[in-house]
């Protein structure tokens, strides 16, 4: 295993320590619950928003806590949903008079932890609503009762509800908004390599030199099918069609287009992929109003990408364009 880390058991706390030290003015870190939260939360006129999920998806979610984004994140270990107690304690700590919005990616572990944590918080009179994100079209919804996974599309849900909450939206409005974003967001992922959870020390899966995996999730779960590696444009041809046909996105639709890196793919490759996706979107008559190329929701050092389309309306576009802050930044 080639990683910059100390004791693999401390992978998550060591990372959180780094985030906390870098942002002492804006963030609070509570090691007991892997909790990174805004220092200025709760606020009387704002719903507090949190997401859990496992670690290993950075910047999601601990590095996108900030004004206009998440108010708190309490990740579990790498690829493990947070323990129910983290969810409960975090909910209590961020709860203001307007309540708490739980965002979660649709995985059994996360759902279970958040259900339990919510029950405990509600028992103490905290109002909680939940938006379940399930943008991954790789999973065929009908086949399994677990439903679609939540993947990189969660960024758009967070960004939208984060912006709306700063403008004073109620818990109910945010729940509605979140679900509306989910309903217009679709994603599909591809991997060239597996990834190695630090505590496991070996790759979750391995691909031959000429193979790629279509339809991966963000936990290194193998995907829909394993095929021979293709030129970038060919891959995008297939992936774009799968995503665009799903909603479907139609000529005249205004969209946001995201090429998300899985952690080990350089941004040069992401732009190669973006270029052809942009061409296909235009060919289909979609109007690209916003674009996102970079790492938003990763699987450790996996080489791979996902493509996300979001259908925009003026309100949503405005929320996505609203100013926001996060630990990750360029300048």
């Amino acid at each position: 295993m080639k990683k910059f880390c100390n004791d693999p058991k401390n992978y998550v706390p060591d990372m959180l320590k780094g985030i906390a030290l870098a942002n002492q003015d804006k963030l609070k870190y509570i090691p007991d619950y892997n909790l990174i939260m805004r220092a200025d939360i709760p606020q009387p006129n704002k719903v507090s928003i949190m997401q859990g999920s496992g670690s290993g998806h950075e910047p999601a979610h601990v590095m996108i806590v900030g004004k206009g984004m998440l108010d708190a994140a309490c990740p579990g270990n790498v690829f493990a949903a947070p323990p129910p107690d983290y969810v409960y304690q975090t909910t209590k700590l961020i709860a203001g008079p307007m309540g708490v919005l739980h965002l979660l990616n649709n995985y059994t572990g996360d759902t279970m932890s958040f259900d339990t944590g919510r029950e405990l918080a509600e028992a103490e009179g905290i109002e909680v609503r939940t938006v379940v994100i399930n943008d991954d079209v790789a999973v065929k919804d009908s086949t399994y009762t677990v439903g679609r996974r939540g993947v990189a599309g969660n960024f758009f849900v967070i960004k939208a509800v984060g912006a709306a909450s700063e403008r004073g939206a109620t818990l109910e409005e945010l729940e509605k908004l979140g679900n509306r974003v989910v309903s217009v967001t679709r994603t599909f992922g591809v991997a060239l390599t597996g990834c190695t959870p630090p505590a496991k020390g070996t790759p979750i899966f391995t691909l031959e030199e000429d193979e790629m995996e279509m339809g991966i999730g963000i936990h290194g779960e193998p995907g829909r099918k394993r095929v021979k590696i293709q030129p970038a444009d060919k891959i995008i041809d297939e992936v774009f069609a799968i995503v665009a046909d799903d909603l479907p996105y139609k000529a005249g639709d205004e969209v946001a287009l995201m090429i998300n890196g899985m952690g080990g793919t350089p941004i040069s490759e992401l732009y190669i992929l973006y270029g052809h996706a942009h061409e296909l979107a235009e060919k289909r008559g979609l109007k690209i109003k916003r674009h996102y190329v970079g790492e938003y929701c990763t699987s450790l050092e996996m080489a791979g990408f996902s493509l996300t389309l979001v259908k925009l309306d003026p309100e949503l576009e405005d929320l996505l364009a609203a100013p926001a802050e996060a630990a990750i930044h360029i300048f």
Partner: protein, 214 residues
């Protein structure tokens, strides 16, 4: 059914045994979960039971019920994912069911195991055949109940149950995963062992040996 009363110290002995099995098999369990899942099963469970052992002396040992509720809390605060909630809920509900009892009969034990099975079913909205813990646990508990009914002593009954557990875990190979992360791989999960079921088997195997030696 033979009268053989299980005491507070036996309950604690079982928890300690489970912890040992989990810690010993950390890498193996993670490896199994890695085939179609995300490879964290062994790690997650190990961190939970490690904490149970670390806090052992500070825990409430007044009654088996209180003790198990405390174990549940520790697990819920340390283990994430499916396992954290499942194991936490199991221990919690069994603890609640025990109430203030300090001695439990073998009938009680079977009843408690059914409480655990129901906890998994409800929390995981799953059932036999979904390729979860249940596929090992249900046949094993059935076997134990039958052995008790046939008048076997506990050590002997556990040995029989452990054999059934091992067979049932092995039999999960033929199942398609319908729950948890492995479900995403669909048909590809056929041929692989369910990590949770193997854990159940290993726990009963070790417990049977330990009970005999004890």
């Amino acid at each position: 059914m033979k009268k053989e009363v299980i005491m507070a110290k036996d309950i604690e002995f079982v928890v300690k045994q489970i912890a040992d099995t989990v810690l010993k098999n950390e890498a193996y369990f993670s490896e199994l979960d890695g085939v179609c899942g995300d490879g964290d099963f062994g790690y997650s469970l190990a961190r939970g039971f490690e904490k149970v052992l670390a806090e052992w002396d500070n825990m409430d040992h007044s009654t088996p019920g209180n003790f198990l509720k405390k174990v549940a809390q520790v697990i819920m605060s340390a283990v994430g994912g499916v396992s954290g909630t499942i194991w936490g809920t199991m221990f919690l509900r069994v603890g609640v069911k025990l109430g203030n009892k300090t001695e439990i009969t073998r009938e009680d034990a079977i009843e408690l195991l059914h409480v655990a099975i129901d906890a998994i079913k409800q929390r995981g909205s799953c059932d036999l055949g979904d390729k979860t813990y249940l596929d090992a646990l249900i046949p094993t508990v059935d076997a134990l109940e039958k052995a008790f009914a046939e008048g076997k002593d506990t050590a002997e009954a556990l040995e029989i149950a452990a054999k059934v557990a091992a067979e049932s875990a092995e039999a999960t190979r033929s199942l398609v995963a319908k729950k948890g992360r492995a479900a995403y791989t669909g048909e590809r999960s056929i041929g692989t062992l369910d990590a949770g079921s193997v854990a159940v088997a290993k726990i009963f195997e070790d417990l049977a040996i330990a009970w005999k030696e004890n």
